[in-house]
Amino acid sequence: MSVIVFVENWDGKFKKLSFELISYARQIADKSGSRVIALSIGTVEDDELHKLGNYGADKILKVEDERLNSLINKAYASVITQAAEKESSDTVLFSHNATGKALAPRVAVRLKAGAVTGVTEIPSSLDPFEVKKKVFTNKAFANVRVRSVKNVLTLFQNSVEIKETENNAEIEAFDAEIRDQDFKTRVLEVNKITGKVLLTDAEIVVSGGRGMKGPEKWQPLEDLAAELGAAIACSRPVSDEGWRPHEEHVGQTGKIIAPNLYFALGISGAIQHLGGVSSSKYIVAVNTDKDAPIFEAADYGIVGDVHKILPELTGEIKKMKDA
């Protein structure tokens, strides 16, 4: 028996969410008395792979093949399924990010496993397998029972604590069968934006709404983000009107985020917006309307004009950091 974790890498490096996954898998494995297997696809140095051992991986399988340098869903799903079968895994774990959402359903079908996505806690029971997940875009939770022997899970980011353990992990090259017919999609071009903090990684997110009053008025918000090392986001009207690119839209139909700190600046807080950000640990709201619904979701609030408050806020934060 084992819990197998697919650990994605970004240019050969792991992220906080990779270690969250291993920590989560470790807790399930300890409950069931099984092993944690980490599966890495792509080129990652052994030093980096060994880090996974610090969080509880017993074994690290690595699959290196040029054809797998970009994500091709069918080929990846095939490799992950082969690894899960080889390791007799009952649970296959992914992150609830774009890659996890692309692969988990395919692997679940191949393994005839029940899939539960966006889980937020350690399973409350292993037999029957029962686990809590988010539903209705952060507005509720559901306890889901899996009827099949195996299960496939995606873990919601920032919902479990990372725990370090003793490291006895071994690395094993896994020679998976890779079939040419799985490559009917091809990546022709990769365009990466460099030098920006990614919304999905950010500990702090600074977000602007219609109260920013126009696309040319974003500089004070960008200054605050730069001071904090934060990612920039926006509300739906702002992206719909083309003030900001749609990649920055957070909310029900945009990105669902869970940073430690979220600044809602000139955002009234429509229910769809709150769905996308209410998993943030702390929310700060600035709005001219004291009755704006954002204040019901926020931890700290200021009634006032963002353009008056933003430069002062950035200045005060700088002062605090310099002190």
Binding site: R106, V135, N138, D182, K184, K196, D240, T253, I309, E312
Partner: protein, 249 residues
């Protein structure tokens, strides 16, 4: 070329979420039902592609797995512009049932492009598109933010962490789409609504796909503590609170 758009019937996104029967069931009393927002964007893009294809895309079909109660939502998709619709008569108990029923239908009625929304706003599974592709042994591309067809060549933009990729794919394939695929969902016109009444909505018997998961109990998040208000003349206090109390700065 034929395009199939899979649509989910979901509560309006402003719905106040409540549960009933000892928190074992979502309370549907006085709920307004809509096309799942991502599916609506997928349908919009499918119609744009058809209109720009000079006739090479002959038809856009919508399909829903659901009971009779989901028909008003399916009619809305027809009013927006789909040519015809299929309702597979089954309770969509979990993603495995939905994908299984869709796969059964598509095996007998092949399409060149199948579009699914990346998520449904009710149970947030993000599963149906990928499961469907796997059941049909088709390629899938997820996080699709652009889809273009020129001379039968498919080009896809896929959003990745901190950027995007351009992909090509053979048909048939499943595209799992997100924001960006269409700018705004199309709204039905009066003429569209009139025409929708005469468009075919074929009801198909379920193949009997079995669920692999079940919802045992629902719960609402604990109520949030009141917001601490800080005077706009006292920004320093906010920074101190974030530093000392919340410890996030």
């Amino acid at each position: 070329m034929k395009i199939l758009v899979c649509i989910s019937n979901v509560p309006d996104t402003t719905t106040k979420i409540r549960f009933t029967d000892d928190d074992t069931r979502f309370d549907t009393a006085s709920v307004q039902w809509i096309i799942n927002p991502w599916d609506e964007l997928a349908l919009t893009r499918a119609l744009e592609l058809k209109e720009g294809s000079g006739g090479s895309i002959e038809k856009v079909t919508v399909v829903n797995v659901g009971p009779k109660e989901s028909e008003p939502t399916i009619r809305k998709a027809l009013a927006i512009g789909a040519d015809d619709a299929v309702r597979i008569d089954a309770e969509p108990l979990d993603a495995h049932v939905v994908a299984g029923e869709l796969a059964g239908h598509i095996r007998n009625n092949p399409y060149d492009i199948v579009l699914c929304g990346i998520d449904s706003s009710d149970y947030n599974g993000s599963l149906v598109g990928g499961m469907l592709a796997e059941l049909l042994d088709l390629p899938s591309v997820s996080s699709v933010s652009k889809l273009n067809i020129e001379n039968d060549e498919i080009t896809i933009n896929r959003e990745i962490d901190g950027g995007s990729e351009i992909l090509s794919t053979e048909t048939p394939f499943v595209a799992i789409v997100q924001k960006g695929i269409a700018l705004e969902p199309r709204i039905p016109s009066m003429r569209g609504i009139m025409m929708a009444r005469k468009k075919p909505l074929n009801v198909v018997e379920a193949a009997g796909a079995e669920p692999l998961t079940e919802f045992v109990r629902f719960e609402l998040p604990p109520p949030k503590a009141a917001c601490k208000m800080v005077d706009e003349e006292n920004i320093r206090e906010l920074v101190a609170l974030l530093h000392n109390e919340a410890k996030v700065l």
